[in-house]
């Protein structure tokens, strides 16, 4: 599992996750993911397009990450989830708590909009 990030001129940090977010994958990226999210400018998009498998431990990590960003008065959104990953997040009601978008650009636009939730 890999975690990289890119900063955009609109102030959004997009974190790209790639691989299988099972116990082993989650253990590998949990810390760098948290560091990347918390060291940005408070507008974070986690791009899940490269994640082909999301286990419960990964769901927990994403929730914890979103809570951490929120505590810092920032916002976090998810994007790019494939059909299986999206279904897992929706079935666990995560999609009602963390905004989810299909594309990075949608997520970036929403997260910097003044009225974004």
């Amino acid at each position: 599992m890999e975690c990289t990030h890119q900063d955009f001129e609109d102030g959004v940090r997009v974190i790209q996750l790639t691989g299988r977010m099972d116990i082993e994958g989650n253990e590998r990226i949990a810390l760098p993911l948290t560091i990347a999210a918390r060291s940005g400018r408070g507008a974070v998009v986690v791009d899940l397009a490269g994640v082909d498998f999301l286990a419960s431990v990964g769901i927990g990590t994403l929730v914890s990450l979103a809570q951490s960003v929120q505590l810092q008065k920032g916002r976090l959104a998810l994007c790019g989830a494939n059909e299986h990953v999206r279904r897992a997040l929706e079935r666990m009601n995560i999609a009602t708590l963390i905004p989810m978008y299909r594309e990075v650009i949608e997520a970036r636009t929403a997260i910097v909009a003044p009225s974004a939730e």
Partner: protein, 154 residues
């Protein structure tokens, strides 16, 4: 699609999870199961077996987990048998839906995931061995079992 029954015995080590996943995906694909079913079986087994290893095998004793995979045209039946401490995942209450992000759990999604993705779950304890059966009906979505909304934090 044809019926087949295959076995795999795992040691109670987390390093067994990825090989298990590879075996499950290869078996499911070879049997022509739908992609969604392949994924759901993979995920549910990851959750079930990781729970056994992490929570059921806390002693220093070697344990074994046996996974049986039986596919038929109407559905696929997976059985997970282990000799870890007795545990019935079906009696674990489903977490209620968090009203806000700050109230959401950061753990405990494994059993709920199994319960929504599998068409049916059954548990027995036979001669001190746990036997968890997961059924996946092909082409049929598991019923949408959303957790009940709660009005405030615990």
């Amino acid at each position: 699609m044809r019926s087949e029954r295959v076995f795999r015995v795992l040691r109670n080590e987390l390093s067994e999870l990825r090989p298990l996943s590879g075996w499950v995906r290869e078996t499911a694909k070879g049997l022509g199961l739908p992609a969604t079913t392949c994924h759901d079986i993979d995920l549910c087994l990851h959750e079930a077996v990781s729970n056994i290893i992490r929570h059921g095998c806390s002693d220093e004793v070697d344990h074994r987990v046996t996974v049986r995979f039986e596919a038929a045209p109407e559905g696929t039946c997976i059985q997970v048998e282990d000799d870890a401490r007795p545990f019935d995942p079906l009696v674990v209450p489903l977490p209620s839906e968090a009203a806000a992000l700050e109230d959401a759990r950061t753990s405990g999604y494994g059993i709920p995931l199994m319960r929504v993705l599998a068409s049916e779950l059954r548990y027995e304890c036979v001669d001190g061995r746990n036997l968890l059966t997961l059924v996946f009906q092909h082409g049929m979505r598991a019923p949408t079992r959303r957790v009940p909304r709660r009005s405030g934090p615990d």
